[in-house]
């Protein structure tokens, strides 16, 4: 038996090795890819949950790769914050993988092993980004995640190739900014280890080079997370991606980027530097307000269901960035909580969009007509997801909003509070628009563009099961918010705010 001390590295190693195994075995037996990926993600999920429990019991864990002491070797640091994010990543990707069975078979019948290899490599990248305690190692992993996601999106249809190319450009710009910033830091400090940087930087916090480094890094990360107005690449990329890619990438990529932002702000630059020395949080909160309102309004103009969801992701990024930059503990708590909650909500809705596409070959609003009668289970889960996005208690969406608004009141940021309320109202309009279409409008012939008539019935079990696990978790996690906050998030918020 492997000792629990080795779990941190295994969280990354297991999916990485399975990427090779899936690829090799896939040459001989295509059918093995799916069970293999599910198995390895189950193991990863188990490992990350037990790591989280270790952290909750005994505090942060440091793991030295190859036994090299930091700052010379690469160090993995798992504290409350990234232990939680690791669980989110492994849980979401497990659900996405389970769900993907039918859709991958249908959409990419001749490239199953290749697809799953990239799929799990992306998961590896995301897990690595989250677990690493080294700023340059982080860059490498960002690129791993990015490159695989470009490919995973390019597998899609219609304008997927162009969208993916767009994303390549923006993603590369973002990563380069980040790398430049890290370069500045390295020149100034001679170190790439986050803990090390944190101890060196206060002494030279007045330096302009550090300020430039911070700016480059934060803008780079914002590009990666599609922070308005740097969001241009996201809607197309996520709309035209294959179903399984959308289901994996949409809930995770932006959330992991938000985590990276929080990590760099507090574990490299320190709360004191970003909030007191820089004093830019007012501007950034207003940028977040723009993101929330802009994203919501753009979502309102969409007639394609999945595209509408992608704009909501842009708005939700505003929630989290704004929450962090409220610079008080309620706001940061809300932002971290929202990483978990928004991942679940987005996943739930993308799973629904995936099912609808699987059954109707479309995800336009018109494709939803009459589905409450034809697919009552799917639509019931959709309703739960929708209510969570609106922020109806006791779903998770309510509780993150609760903390974010409390943070806004505490900080006197009335604009941010108004933005959150308005966004809830817009979400209500958006989702009831969808509900109306599904509930009132009778179904009629689908897609006269050459597709043959499809009969619509309830989704297969492999799709409904993960959907229901997620939909139920939207309520259960909501009710257990208290223990998540006191046991995990309270320790992740910087002290003394």
């Amino acid at each position: 038996m492997i000792s629990p001390e080795q779990y941190p590295v295994l969280i990354v190693v297991i999916p990485l090795l399975s990427a090779f195994i899936i690829n090799v075995i896939g040459w001989f037996r295509k059918g093995f890819s799916y069970p293999l990926i599910v198995l390895s993600l189950i193991i990863t999920f188990y490992l990350s949950v037990s790591t989280l429990l270790q952290v909750v019991d005994g505090g942060a864990i440091s793991y030295r790769l190859g036994g090299w002491p930091p700052p010379f070797g690469i160090e993995y640091v798992i504290d409350h914050l990234n232990a939680l994010v690791l669980v989110v990543i492994s849980f979401v990707s497990l659900a996405a993988a389970v769900f993907s069975k039918e859709s991958v078979k249908k959409e990419l019948p001749d490239r199953i092993p290749q697809y799953y290899t990239l799929f799990i490599l992306l998961v590896t990248g995301l897990l690595g980004m989250t677990i690493t305690g080294d700023a340059f190692n982080l860059y490498v992993l960002i690129e791993i995640a990015a490159l695989t996601s470009y490919a995973l999106i390019a597998f899609g249809r219609d304008r997927a190739l162009v969208s993916s190319f767009n994303y390549v450009i923006m993603g590369t710009v973002g990563a380069s900014f980040y790398l430049l910033g890290v370069g500045h830091l390295y020149i100034m400090t001679g170190s790439l280890n986050m803990g090390d940087l944190l101890s060196i930087l206060p002494a030279i916090s007045g330096s302009r080079a550090i300020f430039v480094a911070f700016l480059l890094i934060i803008v780079g990360i914002w590009t990666k997370m599609a922070f308005f107005p740097l969001h241009g690449w996201l809607p197309n990329a996520y709309t035209y991606a294959p179903t399984a890619t959308g289901v994996l990438v949409a809930p995770l990529m932006t959330k992991v980027s938000v985590y990276i932002m929080i990590r760099l702000m507090f574990s490299v630059f320190s709360a004191d530097y970003v909030f007191n020395t820089l004093n830019v949080h007012d501007i950034i909160v207003w940028m977040a307000v723009a993101a929330i309102i802009g994203g919501s309004l753009l979502a309102l103009t969409q007639t394609d269901f999945r595209r509408m969801l992608t704009y909501l992701i842009v708005a939700e990024v505003g929630y989290m960035v704004g929450g962090v930059w409220l610079a008080n503990s309620a706001g940061i708590t809300g932002a971290i909580l929202h990483i978990l909650n928004d991942a679940l909500m987005t996943l739930c809705l993308f799973l629904v969009a995936g099912i609808i596409y699987h059954k109707t070959r479309g995800h336009h609003l018109d494709d939803i007509r009459g589905l409450y009668r034809k697919m009552p289970f799917t639509m019931a889960a959709f309703t739960v997801g929708a209510l969570s996005m609106i922020g109806v208690p006791p779903t998770v969406g309510f509780f993150s909003k609760w903390y974010l608004i409390l943070g806004a009141i505490d900080a006197g940021q009335w604009g941010f509070m108004a933005a959150l309320i308005i966004s809830s109202l817009i979400n209500a309009v958006l989702f009831f628009k969808v509900i109306e279409v599904g509930y009132f409008e009778p179904m009629h012939g689908h897609h006269d563009d050459g597709h043959h008539e499809v009969t619509i019935d309830e989704a297969p079990f492999s799709m409904l099961a993960p959907l229901y696990v997620i939909a139920v978790s939207l309520i259960v996690v909501g009710i257990y918010t208290s223990s998540i906050i006191t046991n995990i998030i309270a320790h992740a918020v910087p002290k003394g705010l």
């Binding site: 209510l387 609106i390 922020g391 109806v392 208690p393 006791p394 509780f399 609760w402 608004i405 409390l406 009141i409 505490d410 509070m417 309320i421 809830s424 109202l425 209500a428 009831f432 109306e436 509930y439 009132f440 909501g478 009710i479 257990y480 918010t481 208290s482 906050i485 006191t486």
Partner: protein, 489 residues
């Protein structure tokens, strides 16, 4: 006051929620399905009723369901005010279920399983609001009720119900998210708690200006109370099947609105503080305006259900006015009016539905002479009207009497005139209907001999509620006692 931990309030909420499962499973066997509704209704009512003796002895029952946030729980508490509301709603649910069978089967409506399921969920939420121990729990059940009633309002799934449903949500959900949610968070930020307290948890925490803003946000935010200008959803919601209008839009949903405002005034702000800041008057004027205008609009409505809807808007503001008077008599009058108006107005709606089932008529101008064909229904209608107007020998007399005394006690002579004017208007829009129904020549009568009473499942419930309205005149003690205990007089 003695406090006891007791799971009964939770069970009373859950029983109808759990009943949804057997209701859905027996969708193919209507009699069994409605059987489940009755079983749930009877258990629910018994659970609520079983708490009456304890509460009358001054015991407060509490139960914490879940600690959802540090310092904030889903918590239930049974006090006289909540118990009174729960008694009214749970007893009327049983009656309405019987009526629903007559109405829905009489009209051969579609999707009856969905109808009965959401009805059960709506009742769970209503009892939840009644038994909430803090503002957060109340908000949770309030929202749950808004959403559970949406499929009921839009039952017909046609364009009109789609439009009405949209209006319904825009008002109800729009105000609760737009006003109540921020007001609740600001209150939490000020007081550090949301637990209803006898003198109001907000008292003494902030300036008068902030208090005024918060109070107005709460009063308008609970738009189920239909205070103008946030009343538009109620006439629109009349598109729903009549049992829904009867139980939800005359009793459960709308009274959840006024009940919430009562809680806000007593538990969040506290009567003493509102009195010292003279904020009651603000709310009283909003209510008075609604009372007069709604009664005037009701006069001009030809659709029977629409007239009833505007009458409800006016009567709801009676309750709000009672609360805003901040005097013991006025407030107890308001509280008791929750019960008295419930029995009177539900009778009227039942009658409107019975007429529709028997004749397919919706407009008052088409109902000349109907009293001769449907005498039981129309006599019940008369009794219901008398109760809403406030005439003896019906229960409505008591609540109006106390409200009038309350205005004198509070030295609000303007409000006294508002109440009296409105009573005249009530008589003016109800009594002609009854008069025309009975007193007309044979030529004027619009109905031939073939028209008869609606099915017994319709007529029995409305007779029962009419009789209860009269009984409440002779035996108002339970509700009066609960109201007095709630206000500590």
């Amino acid at each position: 006051m003695e406090t006891k931990i007791c799971i009964r309030p939770l069970l009373a909420i859950l029983v109808s929620l759990i009943a949804v499962a057997p209701i859905v499973l027996s969708s193919k066997r209507p009699n069994l399905r409605e059987g489940w509704t009755f079983i749930a209704g009877i258990i629910k009512f018994s659970l609520v009723a079983s708490m009456v003796p304890l509460v009358l002895d001054g015991v407060r029952l509490e139960y914490t369901v879940a600690q959802v946030l540090p310092g904030m729980a889903i918590k239930l508490a049974v006090d006289p005010m909540g118990l009174m509301f729960a008694l009214v709603s749970s007893s009327l649910w049983i009656v309405t279920s019987a009526y629903s069978i007559g109405y829905m089967r009489g009209l051969d409506e579609h999707s009856q399983t969905r109808y009965f399921s959401f009805f059960a969920i709506a009742l769970s939420s209503t009892i939840g609001v009644a038994f909430s121990a803090n503002l957060f729990t109340m908000y949770l059940f309030y929202e749950m009720l808004s959403l559970a009633t949406y499929p009921l309002v839009t039952h017909h799934q046609d364009d009109e119900s789609r439009y009405s449903g949209r209006k319904y949500l825009a008002f109800i959900l729009g105000t609760s998210i737009g006003f109540v949610l921020p007001a609740m968070l600001i209150s939490y930020n000020l007081a550090g708690t949301l637990e209803f307290a006898n003198n109001g948890f907000l008292s003494g925490t902030t300036s008068k200006t902030v208090m005024t803003v918060l109070l107005i946000m709460f009063v308008f935010g609970f738009a189920k109370a239909a205070i103008m200008p946030f009343h538009g959803w109620l006439p629109a919601a009349m598109v729903a099947p009549t049992p829904v209008s009867a139980l939800l839009h005359a009793v459960a949903v709308v009274k959840v609105g006024v009940f919430s405002i009562f809680r806000i005034i007593t538990g969040v702000f506290g009567t003493d503080m509102l009195r010292s800041l003279e904020l009651g008057t603000v709310v009283a004027y909003l209510a008075a305006f609604t009372i007069i205008i709604a009664s005037l609009i009701a006069l001009s409505q030809d659709g029977l259900k629409r007239r009833l809807a505007f009458s409800t808007i006016g009567q709801l503001s009676y309750i709000v006015l009672g609360a805003a008077l901040l005097s013991p008599k006025g407030m107890s009058g308001g509280l008791v009016h929750i019960a008295m108006h419930a029995f009177g107005k539900i009778t009227l709606f039942f009658c409107a539905g019975a007429i529709y089932v028997a004749t397919r008529k919706k407009n008052i101008s088409d109902m000349v002479g109907i009293g001769k064909r449907m005498p039981v229904t129309m006599i019940a209608f008369l009794i219901g009207s008398m109760s809403v107007i406030g005439l003896p020998p019906t229960g409505g007399f008591f609540s109006k009497w106390y409200l009038v005394l309350g205005t004198i006690e509070a030295d609000q002579i303007v409000m006294l005139f508002v109440l009296l004017t409105s009573s005249l208007l009530n008589a003016a829009y109800f009594l002609p209907i009854v008069y025309k129904a009975f007193f007309c020549t044979a030529e004027e009568s619009m109905f031939d001999d073939k028209v008869a009473e609606a099915p017994v499942w319709c007529v029995a419930p409305l007779s029962l509620t009419a009789l209860v309205s009269i009984a409440l005149f002779f035996y108002p003690t339970l509700f009066m006692r609960l109201a007095e205990m709630a206000l500590g007089v």
